[in-house]
């Protein structure tokens, strides 16, 4: 099923949307991306995603080719043209296509802006009811994981390993089993003392938008949250575990490397936080 995408000012069929082979996104992974969820035709937590987009491009000195206001308009136009109810809007900005290939930034080249939508029924995902298994892989990424760049090969390999193991996500670990985050999600546990634990923001992880919203929603409901690293051992002793991301909201984790988390069923706090996030999303979508 085809849809309409946006590439540098034009609305075109996604299946026919193209960029130059000299685009620096293609040659150098010299680009940034964002994904916002869509629920009932409305963008979820979108300002948070666009703020992170602005921060990421700033960190690699990549000027946005359009204003954030215009990018929002294009998001809405894509939702409208594709009659998108539930799904995702993807945004990618790259440093454009020069006439040749040089590592250093080109001069006088307009950055590329590419956007498309995809259909996804995030709310009714079966895996939210059953929970997912995760595997662990060494975190082999670069040291600036706070930048949401398209240099995603390490995450591709991590998530492929998860897929081959029949797992829904790969948790990346370093420094003696400390979890940094998932291949495309943030990692949480609920300790035996009912403390929600998720790694503190730093250059070691991406500052998750859904992570941030879930922490806020949890704290507003008097849940104790500690932002610190946790190990796989701690996760296996935890009451619950879950992941958050724009494309999955909150998903219970019931198995880590084949071992059950608690009784191997989605935990009540994870399921409740999922409901709370969906309520928040429905109430605040734009």
């Amino acid at each position: 099923m085809d849809s309409i995408a946006y590439v540098n000012g034009d609305f075109v069929l996604l299946s026919e949307a193209k960029v130059s082979v000299l685009d620096r996104g293609f040659l150098f992974a010299d680009g940034i991306y964002e994904v916002s969820a869509v629920l009932g035709g409305k963008l979820i937590d979108n300002d948070s995603h666009l703020a992170r987009l602005e921060r990421s491009v700033g960190e690699i000195k990549l000027p946005l080719p359009e204003t954030v206001a215009r990018i929002k308009e294009i998001q809405h136009e894509l939702i409208s043209r594709n009659q998108l109810k539930d799904g995702l809007v993807y945004i990618q900005v790259t440093r454009g296509a020069d006439v040749g290939r040089d590592f250093a930034f080109p001069k006088g080249v307009k950055p590329t802006l590419m956007m498309f939508t995809s259909v996804k029924d995030i709310v009714n995902a079966a895996s939210a009811k059953t929970g997912i298994g995760v595997i662990t892989v060494p975190d082999i990424r670069w040291t600036r994981r706070d930048i949401k760049s398209v240099a995603l090969l390490a995450q591709v390999l991590a998530k492929q390993a998860a897929a081959e193991a029949g797992a829904g996500e790969a948790w990346m670990i370093e420094d003696g089993g400390k979890v940094t985050e998932g291949g495309s999600s943030s990692a949480f546990i609920l300790t035996k003392d009912d403390v929600l634990v998720t790694r503190e923001n730093s250059s070691a992880i991406l500052p998750g938008c859904t992570r941030k919203a879930v922490v806020k929603l949890a704290e507003e409901r008097q849940l104790r949250v500690e932002e610190r690293a946790f190990t796989i051992e701690e996760a296996l002793r935890a009451k619950e575990a879950f992941i958050t991301s724009a494309s999955s909201f909150v998903q219970p984790v019931v198995k880590i490397d084949g071992e059950l988390v608690a009784d191997g069923k989605p935990g009540p706090v994870a399921l409740r936080l999922r409901e709370i996030y969906i309520e928040f999303a429905r109430a605040t979508g734009t």
Copy 2:
């Protein structure tokens, strides 16, 4: 000046050569590249580059969409169509364009093969006579630097920093000032005891094809070579320093972070190795 490129079976103008926005090279940096030099219309050390291409794609389980023999044919056809005398042939293979965007490997998708040439007078580069300055930057890359992937954002930022400092290359350092390699080259020094030192191959660096050839040529001429890490302090106390790469052969380094290497002039061993490499290239080009 336009030229002919190759994209998935077609020979097209480079300025009009395009790939899908869903190409995994563009979305995920899920691809591998190689660059071979061309001298007098002949490919230099090309088997070494194609062997590394095969190794790199193997490491990320990316099947080549054409045989190595066919890739060689396309290289020659591009040289011929573009009447290329001196320059480079660029090859990029990615995991192709799926109908959507999922991290895990797509099924039934043919990998993308893209190739183009560029004109470059490597032999007569002015910087080979004057030498270049390098700056140092922290090596922030992932831990699989032995894979020649297009996830090059760290190198882009390093080489942009070098360009802004008026330097010709950035040496990436870690573990207390130990040089890994340049943003797009291998790093060598010649110690006071006339020992050529370059870092040993491991996942910390790309196994340089030109590095390998230069080490072999040097050893054949009874130069002592030690493959081990060296620090910036050691480089500043060295008799000479230089870089090697397919696109620059051997280039003397005369300045590191603004400090002169020896008397700040290209060293005789670096210049001699450059000549020797050019002789080797002319004698063995294919």
